[in-house]
Subunit: 344 residues, 2 copies
DNA sequence: CGAGCGCATGACAACGCTGTCATAGTCGGG
DNA sequence: CCCGACTATGACAGCGTTGTCATGCGCTCG
């Protein structure tokens, strides 16, 4: 039952050295005689000394907290991001503060600015679409708070970015679907302004061209990465399957949440997946294998992306040089039961 | 481009008052002449003064951070908890720190203890099953860190608790299923030690008894709240449906993740839900309506529970009295397409 | 043998805020 | 008109840590 944690002063007293020397030992600085260091170490052990973060922060003018700014309809994806960020941050003695942020909410904006001003955060990890909010990055830059952006639409900014190989991933999926004999494949787009949606579409189209196929505008459905939007797009599509003679035999949705929506629409309409319609997603979040049939999708190393972003941010903060400003991580295709050969 | 945020000292200088008075105004304390207050307020405005959290923490010996300790297989549920906690915490100028914790990981335990010792956290919100870890609560108590436990197994501890009405919710589901004419209903249990699992079973059985039905041990499948465990249980069940003459016509799973697993197993086995088998869950997480057919489930006000827990914790920290130590929030049945009348 | 250097160590002042207590000034009652 | 009570305000000392600079010691080199 130790009410108050012990302080550096107590450690110093016990070891018979000055506070500063104790501090030096606690922080593993050089320039300390081995014998003294040993004595101080012993004292630290005996007293269960743990440095007080608040004091350290104050003295350092740093908070050792990284903010993750998010506004995401895909909670599944965000989960993985958060897991990765927390793990990596911990490894470097930083903490992660999740910060919801709706670009159109003046209140959120104010709150975030407040947080920046308070110095509660040393750096920011911006998840899409927050990384493309110019006001946000400007606010951070103004206060000298470094940012790393995850899968941003524009890579022009000064901040490093980490993305998955959206283009390549989507191309792989396009090739795969084409290889199954599908000749007309619908595409469910994500937020129109978001690069990951654009790149995925581009990669997908590239693959189609390779097989002398193409994506006609009528087969592009506009979603916003949310399950609900996927469901809505899916319903439109099912209506067409029921009425039109020539129709897509497969759908590639820009993320798993929307693909799951399409799946529900198919079930609802009594359309069999994958027999009548193949459905594919992107991200490989938990949901992808929790729906039926489990989704063929592009595995994105989401947690790894977050770790990488966190690492870059920490490197910047610690003054280390961040080598390549734009990291792109590999994706892989995961074949599950939601896709099959075209039976047309 | 303002590199350094302004301090209380500058505000005080500008307003021609002492630092302390400026502090008083900034904190809205009484005992300040209206005219002085106005002058200081003006200075605060002009200088864009924002109090420095690190300093405030140090002076207060408080961190204004609440930790949420989790170890949960149901990420879906945790999402809601996190959302609620963050929102409520913000309203009281606290922050939320998510802290993963595996009871059997000595490292996690050490890290958490470390966090407690550092004083990085003023209070803890323990989500199941962490609220039932005696070592954990003891550690916190030792350092005088208040905890609130969410849906704990044991309510004996000194800490306030917040739970959903597991018993009532499950009873409602039991009644509902019985009212559909199901006479034999399987039950997929969650972690055996977790109260929410026990209570749900108890409530469910109570409802069965009301209808002169009962739950035979053979129809109880042991899961652990994860989708995978639900899938495994589901497969066992499907095997029985295929071979045994008399078999359950409905399943009630202890949470949605497991219910989704059962659903997948049914699809896999070609068993139609809800025609041949009705499936019901508990929690009403996003997943519940993202699978097909959308799950009939018990809506748990998860975010509200988190808000409530957060509020209680803040109240405790601010010295306010926490009225009822054990809050139980209402659940409601949400009827969706995964359940139907028994056709036996 | 003394000047000069490197190294271990400590005193002290921040960092920005809040709590405590003292100090003026104001007011009303006896 | 004086005294106690009460009010508005300020001086100052922390909170626990780190950065700066000074000190003192022993060593080497000329």
């Amino acid at each position: 039952m130790k009410a108050r944690p012990s302080t550096l002063r107590e450690v110093a007293a016990r070891a018979g050295v000055s506070i500063k020397t104790a501090s030096r030992v606690a922080n593993g600085e050089a320039r300390v005689a081995a014998s003294t260091a040993a004595r101080v170490q012993a004292a630290i052990q005996e007293l269960d000394y743990v440095p007080n973060m608040a004091a350290r922060r104050l003295a350092h003018c740093r908070s050792f907290v990284l903010g993750v700014v998010y506004h995401n309809r895909s909670w599944n994806w965000l989960n993985d991001i958060q897991r990765g960020a927390i793990e990596e941050a911990r490894a470097h003695d930083y903490e992660i503060l999740m910060h919801p942020f709706q670009p159109d909410s003046e209140q959120d904006r104010k709150l975030l600015r407040h947080i920046l001003e308070q110095g509660s955060v040393d750096g920011l990890i911006l998840t899409p679409p927050c990384g493309d909010d110019p006001e946000l990055t400007a606010d951070a830059a103004e206060r000298g708070i470094p940012c790393v952006r995850i899968s941003p639409t524009h890579r022009e900014g000064a901040e490093p970015t980490v993305s998955a190989s959206d283009f390549e991933g989507a191309r792989a999926m396009g090739r795969y679907l084409a290889s199954l004999g599908h000749e007309r494949i619908a595409f469910v787009a994500g937020g129109a302004e978001q690069r990951s949606s654009q790149d995925r579409r581009a990669g997908f189209e590239a693959a189609l061209h390779e097989s002398d196929l193409s994506l006609c505008e009528a087969d592009v459905l506009q979603g916003d990465f949310s399950f609900e939007s996927g469901l809505a797009c899916g319903r439109k599509l099912m209506a067409r399957l029921a009425t039109e003679r020539a129709h897509p035999t497969a759908v590639f949705a820009c993320n798993d949440d929307m693909a799951a929506g399409v799946l529900s629409a198919a079930h609802e309409a009594g359309i069999h997946v994958p027999h009548t319609l193949s459905v594919a997603g992107f991200d490989d979040v938990d949901l992808a294998h929790q729906v039926w049939p489990p989704l063929t999708t592009i595995h994105q190393p989401t947690a790894l992306i977050a770790r990488e972003a966190t690492r870059m941010l920490v490197d910047t903060l610690e003054g280390r040089v961040v080598a390549p400003a734009h990291r792109i991580l590999e994706t892989t295709l995961v074949e599950r039961a939601s896709t099959a050969e075209s039976c047309s």
